[in-house]
């Protein structure tokens, strides 16, 4: 593949300042079971190339799934035409500094290859998951699914870049809906496809799978007749599988430099953060330490280089509550003059790179889970996201969870259903009062972060300890 792409780049006849090609081959296999039968067994091959040209200070692109040399050469010419036609209207005049030369290789680690679990065996495991989820006749629906990805990326450029990356991913899910007359409750394994990681089939089935299956089934049943989450302002404790969403929506997105620069205003929105806030703003409590880290082994959005060739590096975004750095790749860094990270990423070969999250993690504190709960006289503990909504400046949010427990006099007591909470981002993070230690830290991922025009879904990872927030408005469902 390198020779094909390099030949196209070196023989390109357009008078461009820079030419680059990023080819992606993605082999995905998915198995989904519902109740007692398969809902789908699919395999999917995606293969194509994104050709990018810098001319007249403007990038133009042309993406094609026809990988013949003449087709790629035509894509180079088309990308050049795009750049030149737009050059007089450029938002920013870029230079090759936005695409510095880089070479290297990244291959995610795994112990059991993606061909070691035959489809027939995977179907049987997932059928068994559904069977064991049905802990009662009141279980109305059970689902289990697993999918694997083998993603290879080749990146070459006219200034000598040559990068190969290969990621093996395994994404799994199971869950159930319990129903009793008009009452229904859903419970899942930490949220839809939250168990998404880099690795092979050593990740599934894990040693604790059957215990988790049993627990999910029983908790769905318990939720049916649990009390509604009360409407009040209290101490809110969030498990890592909800912190994932909290970090994503109220830290990750607002810190994206392209949002702050206005690129996203017509779609995903802007940000309440201003460029001048970096380096000075107290984003939240001093307990808050947030890193951008695409180097965590096994986390879903780890890589060696972003999609324009910037080497991956761990960086603090927020340290001791203070905002230090934005989520912006080289283009946004040039435009904003704000320090950024290696996060120019594209969902596949058919989309251009834009500023994305990768792994955004909240660093652990020093309290055990028991110590945290023991310190709370009254509060609500919530697990697992089921609803998310936030405004276009990433300010006012309302999130809902699958499962909650009341905290009374330092102890977890009754189960509560339909737990929701709402707040405003700066107030919320300033109310962070306890951060769990490493023993409470868990890592999840999601393949469904949506952004960009044209739209792109991308994978992100989020690790977090259990966290407690004071004076948060919580509420339940309809009575």
């Amino acid at each position: 593949m390198f020779k094909l792409l390099s030949d196209v780049v070196t023989t390109a006849t357009v008078p461009a300042d820079w030419v680059g090609i990023r080819a992606v081959k993605d082999t995905t296999k998915t198995c989904t079971i519902r109740d007692t039968h398969p809902e789908g067994n699919t395999q999917q091959l995606g293969h194509g190339a994104m050709v990018e040209v810098l001319a007249g200070g403007q990038f133009g692109y042309s993406a094609t799934n026809n990988l013949k040399p003449e087709s790629l050469a035509a894509a180079v010419a088309a990308a050049y035409d795009q750049a030149m036609a737009a050059s007089a209207w450029s938002l920013h005049r870029f230079t090759v500094a936005a695409r510095p030369r880089a070479t290297g290789r990244y291959v995610s680690s795994y112990r059991k290859g993606l061909d070691t679990l035959p489809p027939a065996e995977l179907n049987q495991i997932l059928l068994q998951v559904c069977d064991r989820l049905k802990v009662s006749d009141k279980i109305a629906q059970t689902t289990a699914s697993a999918r694997s990805h083998d993603i290879e990326t080749w990146f070459v450029s006219s200034n000598g870049s040559e990068i190969y990356q290969r990621e093996h991913l395994v994404e799994t899910h199971f869950g159930t809906i319990a129903q009793d007359g008009p009452i229904t409750q859903m419970r899942t394994d930490h949220g839809y496809l939250a168990q998404s990681y880099q690795g092979g089939w050593e990740l599934f089935p894990g040693l604790d799978l059957w215990q988790r299956v049993q627990q999910v089934g029983e908790q769905a049943l318990a939720l049916l007749h649990a009390d509604n989450c009360p409407d009040l302002t209290t101490t809110l404790v969030l498990a890592p599988d909800q912190m994932m969403l909290q970090i994503h929506e109220s830290i990750g997105h607002p810190l994206e430099l392209d949002r702050i620069l206005g690129d996203e205003r017509n779609y995903a929105g802007g940000s309440f953060i201003k460029l001048e806030d970096f380096g000075s703003l107290a984003y939240g409590s001093e307990l808050m330490n947030v890193t951008f880290d695409p180097t965590v082994p096994g986390e879903l959005a780890s890589y060696g280089f972003d999609d324009v060739g910037t080497p991956a590096k761990r960086e603090h975004l927020i340290r001791g509550g203070k905002l230090e750095r934005g989520l912006g790749g080289l283009e946004s860094q040039q435009r904003s003059q704000v320090p950024g990270v290696a996060n120019s990423r594209a969902s596949s070969w058919n989309r251009p790179a834009i500023d994305r999250m990768a792994n955004i993690n909240l660093e652990p504190g020093d309290r055990s889970f028991e110590q945290m709960i023991a310190a709370i006289e009254h509060g609500i503990y919530m697990e697992t996201n089921r609803s998310w909504s936030i405004d276009d400046q990433r300010h006012k949010f309302q999130f809902g969870c699958e499962y909650a427990r009341l905290i009374e006099d330092g102890q977890l007591t009754h189960t509560l259903k339909n737990p929701n909470y709402r707040s405003i981002t700066p107030q919320f993070w300033h109310s962070l009062s306890q951060v769990g230690d490493r023993s409470t830290w868990e890592m999840y991922g999601t393949p469904f972060c949506g952004k960009g025009e044209p739209n792109q879904l991308i994978r992100v990872g989020h690790g977090s300890p259990v966290c407690a927030f004071d004076n948060i408005e919580v509420f339940g469902g309809a009575v």
């Binding site: 398969p38 809902e39 067994n41 699919t42 395999q43 999917q44 091959l45 995606g46 293969h47 194509g48 403007q58 692109y61 993406a63 094609t64 799934n65 026809n66 013949k68 990308a79 035409d81 795009q82 036609a85 737009a86 007089a88 209207w89 450029s90 938002l91 035959p118 489809p119 179907n123 049987q124 629906q141 319990a178 008009p182 009452i183 229904t184 859903m186 206005g262 690129d263 205003r265 017509n266 779609y267 058919n350 834009i354 609803s387 909504s389 936030i390 405004d391 276009d392 006012k396 309302q398 809902g400 339909n418 709402r422 405003i424 025009e453 044209p454 739209n455 879904l457 469902g477 309809a478």
Partner: protein, 458 residues
């Protein structure tokens, strides 16, 4: 301004538009499969040749083209099935070897899989061909769109080009749909970061319509320049313009009116079906393919009826039933898609005239757009989301001030039930301009609605 016509037309056929290279090759692949595969199969194609140009501050941020396509082959043997997807380039000599290799893989895989008692085997004899040709702007002309907006903070995306869908199966059913279209989705911002939204879509670019949209948006933006009013949380009479109603309507396709969702306890409308909650007799929702820029055939090759009432005068008269659900729940199929989502939704109009909207509202909120909707209490149909863009406080039937964005949390049983005062006597066609994976097809046809005691929470 230059206009680029589709350049891949090969040869004309009788009684129809000329056949594109993509249609020709898809037909060749289907015939080759018929010869090679003696199992039941379906073959679907989805692809596009698209232009995407992204704007920010009346300048170009990113611009490019995407030529993409994928073939999905499903093979059925003895109540077992599996599917494989491979790229579609539009050249038989490239596409057939990959498709044939996938066929071989699937024929090996399928016998190893568990029985799927609800496999839908191709049985029909339907064929269809729909070709909606248009003309799109060349990239130089797209750049020139910026000339009339140079004094404005204009942001958004222009997307255009050919979209194609194909279907073939072992029973001999064949369908083809293609559409050349464009959409320009934009926002105008003022210095206070307040914004208004506009969309231009169709098959032929009309510069006059674009300029009219810009003029309308500029006028709305002048209204936004008034000092914003902060609204306390509470309940207010609210007018939701058609674009806002279309956002609420999308929730009907997400754990809404699909039969599988209703059967599996995953629907907001189980309470409606059980008679425990009601909707207003003013509210009628139907599938209406007669004007939709969307194929009527589904992934089983079945052709949906031109119209299908879903909620008629507040009563759930039909769910969306795919042939798979029909087998599982022993109920007749209405040829819904496999995912049982609305493909050509229409909410029928009411009696509220455009010039009566503000007087009907009298005192309350005028919402042009909603943002980021999600279920906050799914079984009870409760939805949360944000107001966005041109939203105003109205007093004595007149717009008084723009509002700071508000969070709402309200049940569809209220919006389209006991809180529904009236629907407008006009509808707007809201195009689906999503571009996840590929450019979307379709649109929704909706009126505005006037709702009493709409709940705002933050």
């Amino acid at each position: 301004m230059t206009v680029a016509k589709a350049d891949n037309v090969l040869n004309p056929i009788e009684k129809g538009a000329a056949v594109t290279r993509q249609e020709l090759v898809f037909g060749q692949l289907a015939e080759a499969l018929m010869d090679r595969c003696k199992d039941g199969f379906t073959l679907t194609l989805s692809g596009e040749d698209s232009q995407f140009t992204r704007f920010n501050r009346a300048r170009i941020r990113q611009t490019g083209t995407v030529s993409d396509g994928s073939l999905t082959l499903s093979v059925m043997q003895a109540e077992r099935t599996a599917a494989g997807t491979v790229p579609f380039v539009g050249e038989f000599e490239t596409d057939w070897p990959r498709l044939e290799a996938t066929l071989t893989d699937l024929q090996t895989l399928v016998p190893q899989l568990p029985v799927d008692p609800f496999v839908v085997l191709p049985t029909g004899s339907a064929t269809s061909r729909t070709v909606n040709r248009g003309a799109t702007l060349g990239v130089d002309a797209i750049a020139a769109l910026l000339t009339p907006v140079q004094t404005l903070d204009f942001t958004g995306i222009y997307a255009s080009g050919l979209i194609f869908r194909g279907y073939a199966d072992s029973a001999g059913q064949r369908h083809w749909f293609e559409s050349t279209s464009h959409s320009l989705d934009f926002s105008l911002f003022d210095a206070q970061n307040r914004a208004v939204k506009g969309t231009v879509a169709g098959s032929e670019w009309h510069q006059g319509k674009f300029l009219d949209k810009i003029t309308q948006a500029k006028h709305q933006l002048t209204l936004m320049a008034r000092p914003a009013k902060t609204i306390d949380r509470g309940q207010y009479r609210t007018y939701l313009a058609p674009t806002a109603v279309a956002e609420l309507l999308a929730m009907f396709s997400w754990g809404g009116v699909g039969e599988a969702d209703l059967q599996q306890g995953n629907s907001a409308f189980n309470l409606l079906r059980q008679g425990k909650r009601q909707l207003s007799d003013k509210f009628t929702l139907q599938e209406n393919f007669q004007q939709a820029n969307m194929p009527r055939f589904n992934s089983y090759g079945e052709v949906a009826p031109p119209q299908l009432p879903i909620i008629q005068r507040g009563q759930l008269v039909n769910s969306l039933v795919s042939s798979r659900s029909a087998k599982e729940y022993q109920t007749p199929s209405n040829y819904a898609s496999r995912g049982e989502y609305l493909r050509a939704p229409e909410i029928l109009p009411g009696s509220l005239a455009a010039d009566q909207v503000l007087s009907g509202l009298e005192r309350g909120l005028y919402l042009s757009n909603l943002h980021y909707l999600n279920w906050s209490d799914h079984p009870n149909g409760r939805v949360t989301g944000m107001t966005r863009y041109a939203c105003f406080w109205v007093e004595k039937g007149e717009i008084v001030a723009p509002i700071e964005n508000l969070r709402f949390d309200e049940s569809l049983y209220h919006c389209f039930g006991d809180g529904l005062i009236d629907l407008t006597n006009f509808q707007e066609t809201i195009p689906d301009i999503d571009t996840y994976d590929r450019r979307s097809l379709g649109d929704s046809c909706v009126p505005g609605i006037l709702v009493d005691n709409f709940t705002y929470t933050l």
